[in-house]
Symmetry: D2
Subunit: 346 residues, 4 copies
């Protein structure tokens, strides 16, 4: 941290600021420039609000020289993290595809949807059991019974599972059924939930808050990591902007931006960002081209009958066709996606 004093700052002001810094436990190095004095602060300053010093008399500006997160920063690990989920590696050479229905509605729906995505090359089965719904009058999901089904169908298809957790109390009951615990966009700054996830030995997929900066997103990851759980996968899912022709604005530049700041893998959810089936395919292609480590896509065997998010769910044939396009695009980024598994499934 560097504190830049005003041009006219007097000795008393400089002394008072230096004292205040030392009182908070940091060393100070003073440099008198031609026009103004600069105070360099030595030591790690995580958790300090720069405004604390900015409002002292004589201070012009406070510059944080390090990011406010540490465990999540690229500098902490030097190399990219690879998160292991059974045999699947997220953040490695393979672009990992997670797919399935928005909500678990019943056995046939889940089985048929899962079968189609498994055949086309998806590795992880998604399906919501606890649903964060904007309206208290909307269907809130099937709960734990749905997760038992998710595990059973996933096993049969040879897929790992992912589902959303909405509060700390749900974590323990979900562990037998879910390989990746997903934190939704509305809970990205639910710090009690993040802290609880930090105590679990299970990968967490952390969706970006609808209006979270990249820095806040990485600070949310830091909450989980500070508790001891370093297996965090980031997921860009669209941000809120003035543009309302689509539900949200997918921020694909966040992918290389995160990769320049953090070692954590980052995937993209084009389904929630757009809310429209015809937009999912082009944006899924773009996400892989921009360098994402994976995709999270809603697929339903019969979207018109879906209880939730039907309009944004791909049909099985559309998903298979997208997978074909992705197999061409990964060449440009030196990666691969899983092949179609025509025969091996039940």
């Amino acid at each position: 941290m560097v504190i830049i004093m005003n041009k006219g700052a007097g000795e008393e002001e400089i002394a008072a600021v230096s004292l205040e810094v030392r009182n908070r436990g940091f060393g100070v190095h003073r440099s008198d420039g031609a026009e103004q004095t600069v105070l360099g602060i030595a030591g790690e300053v995580l958790g300090i609000d720069p405004r604390t010093f900015e409002s002292l008399p004589g201070v012009q500006e406070v510059v944080l020289l390090t990011e406010p997160y540490k465990l999540a920063s690229l500098g902490f690990r030097r190399k990219r993290s690879v998160i292991r989920v059974g045999e699947i590696e997220i953040g490695g050479p393979e672009v990992v595809i997670m797919a399935g229905p928005c909500t678990i509605e019943g056995e046939e729906q889940l089985y048929r949807s899962a079968e189609s995505v498994a055949k086309a090359g998806a590795r992880i089965l998604r399906g919501g059991a606890f649903k964060p719904r904007t309206s208290p009058y909307s269907f809130q999901g099937p709960g734990i019974a749905g997760l038992e089904l998710l595990r059973r169908v996933g096993d049969e298809m040879g897929m790992a599972t992912i589902s959303e957790v909405m509060e700390a109390g749900q974590i323990e009951p979900m562990l037998p059924f879910v390989d990746i615990l997903q934190v939704g966009t509305r809970n990205m700054q639910n710090y009690n939930l993040l802290a609880a996830l930090g105590k679990v030995n299970r990968p967490v997929l952390l969706k970006r808050g609808m209006s979270a900066t990249v820095q806040e997103w990485l600070l949310a990851a830091e909450y989980i990591m500070a508790g001891g759980n370093h297996d965090v996968i980031l997921c860009e899912r669209g941000i809120r902007t003035f543009e309302t022709s689509l539900r949200n604005t997918l921020d694909l530049s966040a992918v290389p931006m995160v990769q320049s700041l953090s070692h954590l893998p980052v995937i993209v959810d084009p389904s929630h960002a757009t809310g429209r089936r015809d937009m999912v395919t082009p944006l899924a292609r773009a996400a892989v081209a921009v360098g994402a480590d994976g995709l999270l896509i809603e697929v339903h065997h019969d979207p018109d009958a879906a209880r939730c998010d039907g309009p944004q769910s791909l049909r099985p044939a559309e998903f298979a066709s997208l997978m074909g396009e992705l197999r061409l695009i990964v060449q440009a980024v030196g990666r691969r996606v899983s092949e179609e598994s025509a025969a091996s499934l039940p």
Copy 2:
């Protein structure tokens, strides 16, 4: 709800859409216009996603004619709600001032801050015990011990108390100490917390999410009300926009907007919106002029020594001066604020 069919929509498409509507339990009234057919849907359609019908073949547009919330809507009560907290009425003729420090730091700090705001005319004492901090390395608040102090000092000053709740499990322990439970901006869509607050017999102050539309904010209130607790106070505290010269953009137009849609009282927090002491006073004046039912203001007896949010906390003299200005402004809106209580305090 009205479903407007495409100009070229055929009889089969119209029939299929009508069937789909009836399958979901609603009546249909068909009108054949000069150029296109319009289907009117009878009955309450809360919780239905209009996209469900929009993606059917032949449908041009679906128009929701009622707001997606009901209990929170102006039409539900016809007259404005007044929330009672002891003898204090929020939403009545008095503009109610809530003030105090960001975080409860200790007895002297809380006592001296409380004393100054009580004398100047504040009715409700604020003070954080559980703090939602962006960084896991920042001070997280004193917890329940802080709330005991809040209650004790509040009682001594003749003030009611308000403090933030961060998860369902904190509600019960907080009840003995806190007269209004506050939901922070980051938890506005923490639906599990909202549902739990719906079961309590205690007023809730619901801060607007940093990027929540007015409609989503009222839907969050509806979550609480749908559980049985109708004592919800809304609080505008700044939204996230492209402008970063201040921390957030205080959306004062949301006050009359909410009042045109809902019967719930709405107050304003100018401290968090701006993050700068010199901005709090003008925006507090503006909030009362625009018609807010109250203010929530950070005041600290010695802001430079504050552990949290010092730069945005008013000093006691600044707060007293603001109260004087507000006593002039309320005349223009036909309201009043509490007088200075020079003598009565200990």
Copy 3:
């Protein structure tokens, strides 16, 4: 400007950056801190893109210590500017009210609208002749003929006049008729127009761009001032955000923010910001309470028949009632508004 080098920056990198700075004509002062080297740049650095140095090897961050504008900055004049329009002073103790119809539609409309606002206390008559319309198929305004009428009616009512200019070629023809040249929100960064206005001896009202930061707004003022015309009045009129329940989000915090950065007067237009008549009155009150130097308000003697912006135009009685409320509010900010002139008008 201060250039902060990386922790590991070598002597060669530091030398190369210093050379680059000197090559651009600036002096350099080097300070070697405990952990990293800081280079202070002496001299005025207006017009330099900090990214130029930020991308050099070894540089961690470049901090601009002065605002990128100069003539518009508070430091340049020390005291607030007062812009004179005949006997009217904008930026002085009087809160100046500008009112009138969106578009000049004809003699009766303009006369009756002007008469009503003059009686209620407005000092400056507004009326559009060249209209920036989003659609090429909308009415584009009456042109110069409308401005002749504006001048004639203004003179009769004892009011100064204001109207919007859309390109440099319109300036000369407008000068006989218009006392204040208005730049619309869509042209705030039309630099050719701004440069041309810098050459004229006539006050300019510069509306904030719909998505302009306060800094960009002041840089646009600087364009006009750099040409020699220092009579710039700023006008906040709402910014574009994610919230769409109203047309734009009126950013009232921009008023004290601008006043902390610049000596220029700043007024508020609540009509365009909200687009709804019932929102204009509360936000006009709030604008005066927050400290604005004036208001720009659309008033039409018969809004339902207006060719443009009828839904946001106040009726004469509503405007008179608002003026009464403002006369109470100005007391709280130590200012005044013009009285009703019941008798003196024709």
Copy 4:
């Protein structure tokens, strides 16, 4: 257009609204539903502000059923437009690459930059002569002399040329030198400039305004087309959002969105959106993968010495490498890009 009346709307209100609609020259078809009356408006309603009817007594909501633009709409042409610039076709099977320096600085700079991009496969040479700079103190470009150079170097390399026009008066002088006239983001709603471009027989590249919705962008295109010039190329270049880690947020979803609404070709400028060289390559790949018809990229033979936008300009080798990646990605979208022309250049 459909006008939906309130549930309690009386016969008088319905009659008054119908009359108002007929007075504006439209036919009305009335449908009495079970709960409320709907008025269908027959005929084209371009240029009508729906709020005109929405503010009439008894009206609940007005729904525009057609987009407010016509010539730019997909329905107007049914098939995608191909804009011809000499032998180059924009909007056809080839993804057209436009590249070159931000500003024309001199002969050697332009020649060497042009040579490198031509060899790598770019078809159109970009270079700014009139620069819209946020600060009046920044370099404003070389003017017409620069354009003569642009034409000469372009001819030598076998490339067409593109450069930005800032006001109507510059169009005529630019025509001999520039094959595509570019409208910058700050001028997207400079209606006088758009109208003037509508009278010219020369393709126009229309950049999206920094905070323009897709609808406003297409309405700006409509302004040009309504004047008679149908050769409009749209260019997405990043929108302004709350996220400031990069200069703007590139909205790649706007590409398929525009393609679902309009027949006009749409290209992407990843250089201005991000402002950082290391972000340009991944986002250029993503733009082609999402289906863009072309790219506009800043390339400089020596970015560290550039007078403008050096930090976001690709080096020749980086650009050549990007072109190689694009040749793989186009396969996934069934398109092609121009090959390297190793030998043919001077």
